[in-house]
C-alpha cells in the first residue's frame, strides 16, 4: 500500500543531508567530534568550535548575534524557559498570551497563574488573528511579557508579528514569539520585527529531534531553568547535544537555500487541496485564507468525528491529524478551534493536512481521490445526515 505522510506540522523526517552532517559528531576522530564542549583537550575544543560555528549560522539566519542564541533540547523547553525564566527574574507581574498558543505556552502560563502571576489571554478573530491593537490595550503598568505564536501549528494562521513587536517596543514590554512552525518557512529578522525572544525547533524543519533554539536579545534577563555546569553562557546547563545541534544547523542552511522554492511548490499544492476539499458538502476552511503557512490546510467537516476520519485515512496509507476530542488524552477538543469560534461538534470534525519537502503532486491527487469516499462512509454510519442525502 502507498504510504503518504501529510503530517509535517507534527514532525518531519530528517533530511539525508542532515543525517550525513550529524554522523561525524557521534564518533571518534579524525572524522569525529564526539567531545564534550567543556573539555580543554582537543576533543573538547573541536566540539566547542563546531558548536560556536553552529551558533553563528543560526544567529545569522534571524539577524541576531551569536551570543544571543541558546541551544535547548526542544521548543517546549525554550518556551518554558521564556515564560518561567522571565517570571522568576521579575518576581511578579502580568503576562499576555493569545488564546491559540501551543500547550507548552498555554500550560506554562496557567502554571504561572497558580503561582500568583497575572495572565491575560487575548482572543482572536474567526480566522485566528490577534489584533495588534488588542495587545496595546492589554499592556498594563506591570506587564512583564507578551508572548504570541508566530504561526499556528493547527490552523496555520500567521500573526502580524512585526506590528505586535513594534507596539511592545514602544511600550517597553518584552516580546516573545513561538516561531516553531514559521522558522525556516518564513524569513525572520528579529531586529526588523522587534522580537526580544524567539523559540524555534529542529525537528519541524527536517532536522533531528532533541534540538531547540532560544533567541534572547542582549540585555534581557531570563533566569535559567537548568542549573549545573554553566553551559550555554549559564543559561542552560547540560552537556551540549552537538550531533543534534549540528543537524539542526545543516537543516537551517538547507532551508535558507531552498525556502523560497519550497514555499512556492507547497503553496500551489495547498491551494489545490483547499479548493478541491471545499467541494465536499459540509466542509469549511479553518484559519486565514491568505495569512497562512504555505504547508497548512485545516478543514472542519460537519457530522464527522476526527479520530474516525484519521483512522480511515490511515487504513488507506494517509497520515494526517485532527483537533478532535477523541484523539486527545483529555477528551477535550482543540482549544485553538474553539478559540476561532467553532462549536465543539465542529471541532470534532477537523482535519489538519500539512505538507512538506517530499510531498508530491501525485500524493495530493491520491488524497483527493480517497477523501470524499471516506467522508461519505463515515456519514453513512452517523445518525446525523443532510436531508437530501
Amino acid at each position: 500500500m502507498k504510504k503518504i505522510y501529510l503530517d509535517y506540522a507534527a514532525t518531519t523526517p530528517v533530511d539525508p543531508r542532515v543525517v550525513k552532517t550529524m554522523l561525524p559528531f557521534m564518533s571518534n576522530p579524525p572524522a569525529g567530534g564526539f567531545g564534550n564542549t567543556m573539555s580543554l583537550h582537543q576533543f573538547g575544543q573541536d566540539a566547542k568550535l563546531a558548536l560556536e560555528n553552529s551558533r553563528q549560522i543560526l544567529a545569522d539566519f534571524i539577524n541576531a548575534a551569536p551570543q544571543e542564541i541558546i541551544f535547548t533540547s526542544s521548543a517546549t523547553e525554550s518556551n518554558n524557559t521564556v515564560l518561567k525564566g522571565i517570571a522568576f527574574a521579575k518576581k511578579s507581574g502580568h503576562i499576555i498570551v493569545s488564546s491559540i498558543e501551543h500547550p507548552c505556552i498555554a500550560e506554562s502560563a496557567k502554571w504561572l497563574k497558580r503561582q500568583g502571576f497575572e495572565i491575560t489571554e487575548l482572543t482572536v478573530d474567526k480566522f485566528g488573528m490577534v489584533n495588534p491593537e488588542d495587545v496595546r490595550k492589554a499592556i498594563k503598568e506591570n506587564t512583564i511579557l507578551v508572548s504570541i505564536i508566530h504561526a499556528s501549528n493547527e490552523i496555520g494562521t500567521v500573526q502580524p508579528i512585526a506590528e505586535i513587536g513594534k507596539i511592545c517596543r514602544e511600550k517597553n514590554v518584552l516580546f516573545h514569539t513561538d516561531a516553531v512552525q514559521s522558522f525556516g518557512k518564513i524569513p525572520i529578522d528579529v531586529k526588523k520585527m522587534n522580537i526580544d525572544l524567539l523559540t524555534a525547533s529542529s525537528h519541524k524543519i527536517y532536522g533531528p529531534k532533541g534540538a531547540g533554539l532560544l533567541y534572547i536579545r542582549k540585555g534581557v534577563r531570563v533566569e535559567p531553568l537548568l542549573h549545573g555546569g554553566g553551559q550555554e553562557n549559564g543559561m542552560r546547563s547540560s552537556t551540549v547535544n552537538l550531533p543534534a545541534i549540528a543537524g539542526f544547523t545543516k537543516a537551517v542552511e538547507i532551508c535558507k537555500k531552498e525556502m523560497k522554492r519550497e514555499n512556492a511548490k507547497l503553496l500551489k499544492m495547498r491551494n489545490k487541496l483547499i479548493k478541491e476539499i471545499l467541494k465536499i458538502k459540509g466542509s469549511r476552511l479553518n484559519g486565514h485564507r491568505k495569512e497562512r503557512l504555505s504547508n497548512n490546510v485545516n478543514i472542519a467537516f460537519d457530522f464527522i468525528e476526527g479520530e474516525s476520519l484519521i483512522m480511515q485515512l490511515d487504513l488507506r496509507g494517509i497520515a494526517c491529524s485532527t483537533g478532535s476530542a477523541c484523539s486527545s488524552a483529555t477528551l477535550e477538543p482543540s482549544h485553538v478551534l474553539l478559540a476561532i469560534g467553532l462549536k465543539p461538534e465542529q471541532a470534532h470534525g477537523s482535519l489538519r493536512i500539512s505538507l512538506g519537502r517530499w510531498t508530491k503532486d501525485s500524493d495530493i491527487n491520491y488524497f483527493l481521490k480517497i477523501l470524499p469516499g471516506i467522508i461519505k462512509k463515515i456519514r453513512e454510519i452517523s445518525p446525523f445526515k443532510y436531508r437530501n442525502d
Partner: protein
C-alpha cells in the same frame, strides 16, 4: 523493536480495527419496535440503536447509527452482534465488559464507549417496553433513570460550549 501483536498501532486491537473498518448492522430499521438514543454531539459520541422485537420477546433485528470515534463505532457494531437473536431478558444481561472482551480490549480512555453501547441498548428496550405497554422491571427503570440523569449532567457541563 518487537512488534506488539496484541494491539494495532499501539492504540487499538486488531478486533477493534476490524469492527471499525467493516462495521456490522449499521443503518436504520423501518418501523422499529424500540429506539435508544444516547450520547451527546458536543462530547463527540452519539449512538442510536434500533431494535425489532417479535412476539416471543426475541430481538430479531438490530441496527445502529453512530457519530463517534473508532471505539464508538467498534462497540456499536459489537453490541449488535451480541444482541441479535437474544431475548430481551438475555440481552439485558450484556455488560460493558462483554463488549470490551469481544473486542480484545479497549484503551482505558475509551471505556465510556462500551458503556454508551450498553446504555443505548437499555434505552431501546425501555422504549420498546413503554410503547408496547410491557411491564418495566424496577431494574430497567433504575438503569433508564440513571442514563437520563447522566445525560442531564453532561448537558449541563457543556452548556457553555453548546451555545
Amino acid at each position: 523493536m518487537k512488534n506488539n501483536t496484541k494491539t494495532c498501532g499501539g492504540l487499538y486491537t486488531p478486533k477493534v480495527m476490524e469492527a471499525f473498518k467493516d462495521p456490522h448492522n449499521y443503518g436504520k430499521i423501518k418501523n422499529p419496535s424500540g429506539v435508544g438514543k444516547v450520547g451527546n454531539i458536543v462530547c463527540g459520541d452519539v449512538m442510536w440503536l434500533y431494535i425489532k422485537v417479535d412476539k416471543n420477546e426475541k430481538i430479531t433485528d438490530i441496527k445502529f447509527e453512530t457519530f463517534g470515534c473508532v471505539a464508538a463505532i467498534a462497540t456499536s457494531s459489537t453490541i449488535t452482534d451480541l444482541v441479535k437473536g437474544k431475548t430481551i431478558k438475555d440481552a439485558l444481561k450484556i455488560t460493558k465488559d462483554n463488549i470490551v472482551k469481544s473486542l480484545g480490549g479497549l484503551p482505558k480512555v475509551k471505556y465510556h464507549c462500551s458503556i454508551l453501547a450498553v446504555d443505548a441498548l437499555v434505552e431501546a428496550i425501555y422504549d420498546y417496553s413503554l410503547k408496547n405497554k410491557k411491564d418495566i422491571s424496577s431494574d430497567l427503570k433504575k438503569k433508564h433513570d440513571l442514563i437520563q440523569r447522566e445525560k442531564e449532567i453532561i448537558e449541563k457541563r457543556y452548556e457553555n460550549w453548546a451555545k
